[in-house]
């Protein structure tokens, strides 16, 4: 049982929160400062005034200077508050399963805003440039970098239809009808002219990616629907930007001519394509840069972040669609960057992006709540209710109408269930709010009313739709996301199908989209990959890359599961090679044969390792990371894995039980990492920690042995692979035991270290340590 019950935890947490909020209030802080300052120096000031500067005032032991750190302090405090809130929600599991996080955060924002107002302060409002420049990019980059390209491009037509045509429809429908309502209403609203209404309509009609992500991530809906709604929310940014600028520019003039409309269309093309081009350029630059980072692994993630952010800012300079630039940058650079960077950098990028987007997302919702309290508001029943109703109706009509048209061109048609979810998932969020906030009150006297209306719509969509979408998804039995791992058979056949379909198209004689995709792939392979990917990996075909990733994943799984006890499920030890091919000698292992270059790498690594001292350098300074030989060392992981496999087999055969504790269940971070959007990345803990490792100190009287081993490695490595014609084997690991030059089979070689390993495992203690000294074990 736990010492502290969850309720107590909650109370303590709330107390801490209260204190934080209290100290966060700036005026209180500074007033305290003044008091204490005067307190410390009070008695002295008198003396100072009457005496000359020769008199000595006592050295201030403790002084207070809040203004110096004010800005970063407040920012940090808000971020801390946001993170603690997030933490808090997950301590209350029942609540977080009913109410989506975004709702809770808005409520917290409301409370905090209320609190600040009570104190007498003006609550901070979500400033638009803070939002657009600092809070929005991480979320979009996170989405863009991990965008599932295959599904996105397969459904691109549908997504574009929804994003462009759907948003236009929404904007004009809502704007036009609102104008009608305003005219009909009479006295107060009649001043709102058509352009203002249209502007308002265009702002409010855009589906918000932040809100969609926040809600959809929790309901685990199937990938098709997810990519449709999410893709729409990303691509409609261009439409929103154009409409916003168009109506804003001309609101002062008051009329729009046909030329303006045509220019608007041109502008739309420029904005969207321009954004994509800018993003793609920066993406290629980033990929190219990552080609040369093999010696400076530490700053690899920085390049990814910086180039993407620059893409966003550059696009914003020209009023192009920054969101599309960011998406294009992330999507373009990803395949090349991932081939170049180290595994650790990949993990870093992934976790940093997730962390930043999570913090951003939390802050946005909290600030929405606070801004609601801040106002200024102008409540007009008719306008607000009309807005709400028209938004919903427009969305439903738009989706149904567009699906009717789209289904004529799709193979996998969208069912009415799908349509319902797409319509229901059209959430509005902070982007709309910020855009309204940017409006100039002179041109738009009714800005506050717009603000109120938008906030109402946002609240409605986030609270009502956000909360009810989960039970509705369950009720309608909408297909959920499949958590299955991608198997190698599926990958082989996906590739096979691609080539097959391209071939059939060629035989038919017409150039369908398989043909062009194939051409693009070949172009990519021939020219682009050579430029942007360093070294040998540029020639690595996709199937092999996939296979290596899978191997690495399994090896890491094995290592993290405690090594030696139970193998993970992906490649169960229930079936081994001998089940498939009894003719082959039983020591064949299903490991890929290594190319010469990799062999050389392994040899080099082994050599460097055997010459190092026992203490591996663990620390690094800020400027360099001592070249970690395990960076690209998936091959060593394979060696270890092979050892572990054999060990496990031997153990199960000999019925010894180990005193090794059962492997710890996957920690939540690892489980989440596995289920996260990129299932192929893994956090690689220092691999050596969990393996029962037998270290050796070779800078010691055993050097003659080390020489022998190096020789043996050299000898073995240069031998041609002794394998029969069909024999697929693979790696002959140099023997770690005392060199026995007459050994030719792997079997005997491997028995020795395993027996010693086993002995070590079954009696841990100082004795084991001593034994370790004798054995040169490969690290």
């Amino acid at each position: 049982g736990q010492i502290i019950s969850p309720v107590m935890e909650l109370k303590m947490f709330l107390l801490v929160l209260g204190l934080l909020v209290g100290t966060g209030s700036p005026d209180m802080g500074s007033s305290q400062g003044k008091c204490s300052e005067s307190l410390v120096q009070g008695p002295q000031t008198q003396e100072n005034r009457t005496h000359t500067t020769h008199s000595k005032k006592p050295f201030p032991v403790l002084s207070f200077g809040y203004d110096y750190v004010r800005l970063p302090f407040e920012i940090s405090l808000w971020v801390l508050l946001a993170s603690l809130m997030k933490l808090g929600f997950h301590l209350m599991p029942r609540l977080s399963s009913i109410v989506p996080e975004s709702c809770l955060l808005i409520v917290v924002g409301l409370l905090v805003g209320g609190l600040i107002k009570l104190v007498g302060e003006a609550p901070p409002v979500l400033e638009s440039n803070i939002f657009f420049l600092y809070l929005l990019p991480p979320i979009i980059l996170d989405a863009g970098y991990f965008l599932p390209i295959r599904q996105f491009t397969e459904n691109l037509g549908t997504i574009l239809m929804f994003a462009v045509v759907g948003t236009l429809w929404n904007a004009f429908f809502v704007g036009g009808l609102l104008y009608g309502v305003c005219q009909l209403e009479g006295h107060r609203l009649v001043t709102v002219d058509l352009l203002s209404c249209l502007l308002f309509g265009s702002i409010i009609s855009a589906v918000d990616p932040v809100a969609v992500l926040a809600v959809f991530e929790e309901i685990h809906i199937n990938e098709l629907l997810h990519i449709l709604v999410f893709g729409e929310s990303l691509l409609n940014d261009a439409v929103t930007v154009v409409l916003y600028h168009l109506f804003e520019e001309f609101s002062s003039v008051g009329t729009i001519t046909v030329t303006d409309v045509l220019l608007g269309i041109v502008c739309f093309l420029v904005v969207s394509l321009g954004g994509i081009v800018v993003g793609a350029i920066y993406g290629i630059l980033a990929a190219f840069t990552s080609r040369f980072t093999s010696h400076t692994r530490v700053i690899e993630p920085l390049f990814v972040f910086l180039y993407s952010y620059m893409a966003y800012l550059s696009a914003e300079v020209f009023h192009l669609s920054g969101i599309m630039a960011l998406i294009a940058c992330g999507a373009v650079m990803r395949p090349y960057v991932e081939a170049n960077i180290s595994h650790k950098s990949h993990t870093t990028i992934k976790y940093f992006l997730k962390m930043w987007s999570s913090v951003s997302d939390t802050l946005i919702f909290i600030f929405l709540g606070v801004s609601t309290v801040a106002g200024p508001h102008e409540w007009n029943w008719i306008f607000v209710v009309a807005t709400l109703i028209f938004c919903l109706v427009a969305r439903v009509l738009g989706v149904v109408g567009l699906t009717f048209v789209i289904n004529k061109f799709r193979i996998v048609k969208l069912t009415s269930k799908d349509q319902f979810i797409i319509a229901y998932g059209g959430l509005r969020g902070a982007i709309a709010f910020s855009l309204v906030y940017l409006l100039n009150t002179d041109h738009f006297p009714k800005r506050n009313m717009f603000l109120t209306a938008i906030i109402t719509v946002i609240f409605f969509t986030v609270f009502v739709q956000g909360m009810t979408i989960r039970p509705l998804v369950d009720l309608l039995a909408v297909k959920k996301k499949q958590e299955t791992k991608r198997s190698i058979n599926e990958e082989i056949h996906t590739q096979f199908l691609d080539h097959l379909l391209t071939g059939i198209e060629d035989i038919c004689g017409h150039y369908g989209h398989h043909h062009w995709k194939d051409k693009l792939n070949r172009f990519n392979k021939k020219y682009v990959k050579k430029c942007l990917i360093a070294g040998e990996r540029s020639k690595e075909p996709q199937l092999i890359a996939f296979y290596h990733k899978m191997e690495m994943k399994q090896a890491i799984e094995l290592v993290e599961s405690g090594g030696g006890s139970k193998l993970p499920s992906a490649m169960p030890s229930t079936v081994s090679m001998q089940n498939i091919q009894p003719k082959k000698p039983p020591q064949d292992r299903a490991l890929p044969q290594l190319s010469k270059a990799r062999e050389e790498e392994i040899r080099k690594i082994l050599r460097t390792n055997l010459q190092r001292t026992r203490q591996r350098l663990r620390s690094y300074n800020r400027h360099t990371l001592i070249a970690d030989p395990y960076e690209d060392g998936w091959n060593e992981i394979l060696i270890k894995r092979k050892k572990m496999k054999e060990l496990e087999k031997k153990i199960s055969q000999m019925n010894n039980y180990l005193t090794v504790p059962a492997p710890p269940p996957d920690s939540p971070t690892i489980a989440r990492a596995r289920l996260a959007s990129d299932p192929q990345a893994w956090g690689l803990k220092s691999a050596t920690e969990s393996i029962p490792s037998i270290k050796v100190d070779l800078a010691s009287p055993q050097s003659p042995e080390s020489v022998n081993i190096v020789d043996e490695i050299g000898m073995k490595g240069s031998q041609p692979k002794v394998s029969e014609e069909g024999g697929g084997l693979t790696m002959k690991v140099p023997s770690p035991t005392k060199p026995r030059k007459d050994q030719t089979t792997d079997e005997d070689n491997d028995k020795e270290p395993q027996q010693r390993l086993m002995r070590c495992l079954s009696d841990p203690g100082p004795a084991a340590e001593e034994e370790d000294e004798d054995e040169p074990f490969l690290h």
Binding site: K408, F409, I411, V412, K413, Q482, T484, R486, S487, I488, N489, E490, I492, H493, T494, Q495, F496, L497, H499, L500, L501, T502, G503, I504, E505, D506, I507, C508, G509, H510, H514, H515, R522, K539, E540, P541, L543, I544, Y547, M550, M571, P572, T574, V575, S576, M577, Q578, N579, I580, Q581, P582, A590, L591, P592, Q593, L594, S595, G726, G728, T730
Partner: protein, 220 residues
Amino acid sequence: MGSFQSLPDDHQYRTLSLKTGFSLEQIAILHNRFKQLSQNEETLRRDDLKTIQDLESNPIRYQIIEAFFDRRNFQKDGVGSVEEIGFEEFLTVMSYFRAPAHHITEEQREEIRRAKLRFLFNMHDTDNDGTITLEEYRHVVEELLSRSGALGRETAKGIADAAMLEVASISVGPMAPDEFYEGITFEHFLKILKGIEIETRMHIRFLNMDTAVFCKQHSV
């Protein structure tokens, strides 16, 4: 394998349309292509297909060409391969790549799935013994990686082995060290490819005069 007159015969087209499910326009277009490939002869040979330029860069072109001459794809119990095919066989093979119609029942969908997967299976199972052995699978992977030079060939064996292990462990489960897994049978093949929605992925768009209208006219 009926004889085929050189003039497009409406009646012939109709029978073909009923058999394969293509529309009359699609059949006409494919017939033109057939004539173009066979240089206006009645039958098509392997060499005719090999002349197609775009196929040169396809790593699995030989298997694709073979599939057209494989009797198993013409009718249910065919055996062996032929040297030349007529238009009917050409069309039959092409019909494997039609998209399923929108409103079909679950059984029909499953049937289409099986047919398409059977086609793939036949492509892999070259010796027609009903199973894909390790050698045959290795050959498949090697062909796929045949454009990657030495790097590909070395790893192909490893990949094929790993894939075979996966099939064995999914289909059969734990096996004693002395048991032997013969090869992938059709049922196992169905099982491992359950994740890929073959019926929707394995299709190409066939040219029509008017795509929107004619796609809807074909409910199987």
